[in-house]
């Protein structure tokens, strides 16, 4: 498994360092000009973008799909292949989360305790991680079953859903959820969301495992 993580590192490092470098560079510019009041949204958005470029570009991209034949000749089991993919994505997620936090600390010139206390910062980052895990819980089984071509098609789903966003937002179900959620704090809801995303991610892993074990390449 470590060898596969090494492989993911070799393939992703260039993109990741480039994007992280850009975040640092922009932060530096903002810090230099004492622009503190820029909000956390841009950082969270940058982290989300970096994460997706790394994941989609390197881990479930066309090139990775083409190299599956070579990977299958290496002395690794199919289980390890799937497991490493899920773990490495989580690792990139955690690294992104940590690096974004560090950048936020520097740019806002605050200490860790303040970041934890600052609910908008923390909740934003947690929300970001949960959302990514839920999305990847759908992306991975599709990638393992049908390949990158179908992952691209999967990306149309959020766009289609956006067309119906007004109808969804005013639906009875959303109203019920909103009414029930109102009695809980934002942190509690996000914590529940994080657990749900972990459960979905774990379930997705088992689905992918089943697919890969049955599949002929």
């Amino acid at each position: 498994m470590l060898q596969l993580l090494n492989k993911e590192y070799h393939l992703s490092k260039k993109n990741y360092f480039l994007l992280f470098g850009l975040i640092i560079a922009f932060s530096g510019i903002f810090a230099y000009f004492h622009i503190k009041d820029i909000g956390e949204g841009i950082y969270i958005f940058s982290a989300l973008l970096a994460f997706f470029i790394v994941i989609i570009g390197n881990m479930v991209g066309q090139q990775e799909e083409d190299s599956i034949y070579f990977l299958m000749t290496l002395p690794i089991s199919r289980t390890t292949l799937v497991f490493t993919k899920y773990v490495s994505v989580l690792a990139v997620g955690v690294i992104t989360w940590c690096s974004t936090s560090v950048v936020l600390m520097v740019i806002k010139q605050v200490v860790w305790e303040e970041i934890v206390k600052n609910s908008s910062m923390m909740t934003g980052l947690i929300w970001c991680c949960s959302l990514l895990m839920i999305m990847l819980a759908f992306v991975f089984p599709v990638y393992f079953a049908w390949g990158f071509k179908y992952v691209k098609m999967l990306m149309f789903i959020p766009i289609v859903l956006l067309s119906f966003s007004s109808a969804i937002a005013h639906s009875k179900w959303i109203e019920i959820i909103y009414r029930n959620a109102a009695s809980y704090s934002v942190q509690t809801i996000l914590f529940i969301g994080l657990i749900i995303s972990f459960v979905m991610y774990a379930f997705s892993f088992f689905v992918s495992l089943l697919v890969v074990h049955k599949k002929s390449y």
Binding site: K7, H10, S67, F70, M72, T73, P75
Partner: protein
């Protein structure tokens, strides 16, 4: 004789074709050629051996271990060469080696460097800039750098120029010199096999037509050439495949007694090549 590879009743069904009850053995220290026309199932069979394709039935045993239960350990001692490059071709040889080497317990940096130097491969250029021959050479470098005991090659000489092809064949002969390494080599360029193979397995229409020593095959099959007027309905049955032209007929047979009985010394008998055997067998099945 110790067998490194044993295929027993392997089957795989696709919509377009199927492998039926494939069985053969590869003894240790020999080169076996897997021949058959395009689409005969050679690549599928090699992929089944590597668990890239899931078989429907049968058993594959490599180094005495079943691939169903011991595939990861088995792969430590296998070098696999595809007909095309499936590496990350935006990376250089050096970067690709850094990814691959940690997977193998017996990775030998010295041997790897030796092959890189021998083939004169540029280590700092992306693989995508390599010619087909260079990509194949890099494939071979990787396959031979971890002291593999079994080399599986899927059409390695397809599309290569004659010089690279000859170099590759020479290298394979060197590799099996120590009698610890065995090679299974799928191809439809049968002249390559006539140079280096010890055994030939012929797959035709999803079945093993024969798996024998090359010399025995070339002794058994022969070409018969003669005038069209010698042929009648009865004596045509002695041929595996037959072709008529303006200058006469030529056919493939493995029944020397019957041919001599039917035609006496009125026909010319010539040694058949593997290509002749493939060609006439395929022709006969088309009818």
């Amino acid at each position: 004789m110790e067998n490194v590879l044993e295929i027993k009743n392997v089957s795989k069904k696709y919509a377009a074709f199927q492998l039926n009850d494939i069985s053969f053995k590869l003894p240790k220290g020999y080169i076996m050629g897997l021949i058959g026309i395009n689409g005969a199932g050679k690549s599928t069979l090699l992929k089944i051996m590597m668990d890239i394709v899931k078989k429907d039935g049968g058993d594959v045993t490599i180094f005495g271990k079943n691939t169903k239960t011991d595939m990861v350990n088995i792969k430590q001692d296998i070098g696999f060469v595809f007909d095309d490059s499936h590496f990350y071709d935006h990376l250089t040889c050096q970067q690709m080696k850094q990814i691959i080497a940690p997977f193998y317990k017996n990775w030998d940096e010295g041997i790897y460097q030796e092959y890189i130097d021998r083939f004169n491969l540029p280590v700092n250029k992306p693989i995508k800039t390599f010619s087909k021959g260079m990509k194949m050479q890099f494939n071979i470098c990787i396959a031979l750098s971890h002291h593999a005991k079994l080399i599986l090659m899927d059409e390695p000489t397809a599309g290569l120029d004659p010089i690279v092809r000859r170099e590759l064949l020479k290298l394979l002969q060197e590799v099996v010199m120590d009698e610890e390494v065995s090679v299974l080599f799928s191809t439809h360029v049968t002249t390559d096999l006539e140079k280096i193979a010890d055994y030939i397995t012929f797959i035709h229409q999803g079945q093993v037509l024969f798996c024998k020593e090359k010399d025995a095959i070339l002794e058994e099959y022969f070409l018969v050439k003669g005038d069209d007027s010698l042929l009648d309905e009865e004596n045509q049955k002695a041929f595996i495949g037959l072709e008529k032209s303006r200058v006469g007929f030529q056919g493939l047979s493995n029944n020397r007694e019957e041919i001599l009985f039917q035609f006496g010394d009125e026909v010319l008998l010539e040694q058949a090549t593997l290509e002749d055997i493939m060609y006439f067998t395929n022709q006969s099945n088309k009818k």
